[in-house]
């Protein structure tokens, strides 16, 4: 067990070192993440203005005041900082296609565990760079958080949501990447997934705005845990019973995708014919 922990630590440390090699690209990428949100805020500002529910009027659109909407977007950014996995699925598929995956089959190391640690390192490096700009933006926008900080219990639940959303995002994308064992190119599939993700995770708009049948649908899908759910927990829009129920469901989804990824990997390797020399 101890040896295993040391191995994990070494993988994590080396992956972290690798991440820090391209410092410039990394810092720039982190900062650019703030750009899309600015356009979204302007868009909603225009929407609120046009229905006469603008900034100071206190009016609401679908139960959201303008300030809450801005706060919601800032919070989905935090959610996505945990749950989004840039390049993961396509990277796995590419490793299958180019034969790089052989490395994991030959060496006594578990590929999924290795990738998870790698991604963890990726995220840690990202947070270390992004922490300052995030803090700055949140400080400047503190006025939009009209109900202030949530209580300690909610905050703890929020952190738990974020950690689960990391695992959910990871195993979901790995499962998609592993489809590469059957279809060498998964980029179109990934595009479709990203599209659904964008709308159904709450990245585009708060999901409770959706009318009846749609709201029921997004509720049973795992995607809402990637952006919407943590944000609404922070905003205090989820009552305690609902929160606990949803946390269990989220944990269930994580487990589902862990098992799915494992089974897919196992089957895929059996099918694998060692492409690329």
């Amino acid at each position: 067990m101890r040896a295993r922990v040391v191995t994990w630590w070494t993988i994590l440390r080396i992956a972290l070192e690798e991440r820090l090699v391209y410092r410039g690209d990394f810092a720039l990428g982190t900062l650019m993440r703030f750009l899309p949100i600015v356009t979204q805020i302007f868009l909603w500002w225009a929407v609120f203005e046009s229905v006469g529910a603008g900034n100071r009027s206190g009016g609401t659109v679908a139960g959201y005041r303008f300030e809450e909407m801005v706060a919601y977007y800032l919070l989905t950014m935090v959610s996505r900082a945990f749950s989004s996995m840039p390049g993961l699925a396509s990277g796995v598929a590419a490793q299958i296609r180019t034969g790089e995956i052989k490395k994991y089959l030959i060496q006594p190391v578990d590929m999924l565990g290795f990738l998870l640690l790698n991604r963890l390192a990726h995220k840690l490096a990202y947070y270390s760079v992004a922490l300052l700009p995030f803090a700055l933006v949140f400080y400047l926008c503190r006025g939009y958080f009209v109900s202030g900080w949530p209580d300690a219990a909610t905050l703890a639940a929020y952190v738990l949501c974020l950690l689960l959303s990391f695992l959910l995002g990871f195993f979901l994308e790995v499962s998609i990447g592993l489809i590469g064992f059957w279809f060498l190119e998964v980029s179109s599939l990934l595009f479709v997934y990203m599209l659904f993700n964008f709308f159904l995770s709450g990245h585009m708009f708060p999901l409770d705005m959706l009318p009846a049948p749609w709201k029921g649908i997004v509720d049973v899908l795992p995607l809402k845990y990637l952006a919407y759910f943590p944000a609404s927990v922070f905003l205090g829009k989820v009552d305690r019973a609902e929160l606990i129920r949803n946390l269990w469901i989220e944990a269930g989804w994580v487990l589902f995708f862990v098992v799915l990824a494992r089974v897919t990997f196992h089957r895929g390797v059996k099918r694998y014919s060692g492409f690329g020399g």
């Binding site: 070494t10 090699v21 052989k102 089959l105 190391v109 020399g277």
Partner: protein, 343 residues
């Protein structure tokens, strides 16, 4: 018991067959025709502990597929294999800690980090004790002369340097069985020789078992006591390198240096004239006739110098490859004319 044991090991692939043209591409969207390709066609092979065996064969003969099967990267479609008592494709960690696969021009090291970091990771993955790790690392870096390069990012190393690092990474856990897939491909002559010398020394010191595929006869001649020729997924020859000449080449090349440069003609009656460059004449003479013919030549001509040589190995092997591919593929085949010679 042999350390590597293959029995009727077979692997076939299904390959999509597409006719030329756009229309065929569109048709391929709905109905695909596949062709079964027999990469390895049921081979039997035993390798004893401490042997250094070369796999020779034209591209696509099944050499690499065999190595992949033995490394557990792919599953066979038939037959069995055991390496050190393990079934490779079960990929037991106990097995994976005891062998290594090195593929020329394929990178297993972390591209952006110094090789040292990758080695450190291997130490953990393979659970190598710290003092054993340090001792092996020191030994390997000094043998391969890369001590000064350990701190340099791998992407900034030359191909030859990188290959040496790959070898170190593969040998740190002291594997008992080593599979080398064209380890010297693309390297210059000096780098090739360095790797050869290292492998030769290391194998003799440790008595590990090595299976090597290579297209460079120099690698094979320098390293391997035993050569297995695979063509179209079947073993065509199994024996010593010199045995290939005995079996497949019935000729010697005789070069004569004439004392008087006048009469370079009239040698056709002794054998096939390969080259006439007075005062030198090159003849191809059947092996069994060499002494007789040479005596006749010496009796009739004033000869200053004689050299009797085997034809170049590459030439003979090229002949074996092309002749074998004309034969129908067979299973574990003795050579075309008799049982395989065992070493």
């Amino acid at each position: 018991m042999a350390i590597i044991e293959l029995r009727q090991l077979a692997k076939s692939f299904r390959v999509y067959q597409k006719s030329e043209g756009l229309l065929a591409s569109v048709r391929g969207l709905f109905r695909r025709r596949y062709r079964e390709i027999q990469a390895v066609g049921g081979i039997d092979l035993d390798v004893e502990q401490g042997e250094f065996v070369a796999f020779l064969g034209p591209n696509g003969a099944g050499k690499t597929t065999t190595l992949k099967l033995l490394s557990g990267v792919i599953y066979p479609t038939g037959g069995t294999a055991q390496v050190m008592g393990f079934v490779p494709w079960r990929r037991d960690n106990a097995y994976r800690r005891r062998f290594a696969l090195v593929i020329g021009q394929k990178n297993q090291l972390w591209w952006d980090l110094p090789a040292q970091e990758s080695f450190r990771l291997h130490q953990q993955i393979y659970r190598i004790a710290p003092d054993a790790f340090q001792q092996r690392l020191d030994e390997l870096t000094s043998l391969l002369d890369v001590g000064r390069l350990l701190k340099q990012p791998v992407r900034e190393l030359s191909l030859g340097e990188r290959m040496r690092m790959e070898l170190i990474a593969a040998l740190l856990h002291s594997p008992e069985v080593l599979f080398l897939d064209e380890p010297t491909i693309g390297l210059d002559v000096v780098a090739q020789r360095n790797i050869q010398q290292f492998l030769k020394y290391y194998q003799q010191q440790r008595r590990i078992t090595i299976l090597l595929t290579s297209h460079y006869m120099k690698d094979v001649a320098a390293l391997c006591q035993r050569v297995v020729i695979i063509v179209q997924g079947a073993i065509r020859y199994d024996g010593s390198l010199s045995g290939i000449l005995d079996r497949f080449s019935g000729h010697k090349v005789v070069t004569l240096q004439l004392a008087d440069d006048g009469d370079a003609n009239g040698f056709a009656r002794f054998g096939q004239v390969l080259e006439v460059q007075p005062p030198r004449v090159k003849l191809r003479i059947a092996r069994k006739d060499v002494t007789e013919v040479l005596a006749a030549i010496l009796a009739q001509h004033a000869i200053e110098d004689v050299a009797v040589e085997d034809p170049p190995l590459e030439e003979v092997i090229a002949k074996v490859f092309s002749e074998a591919s004309l034969l129908p593929a067979r299973g574990a085949a003795p050579g075309p004319d008799g049982p395989a010679e065992q070493v």
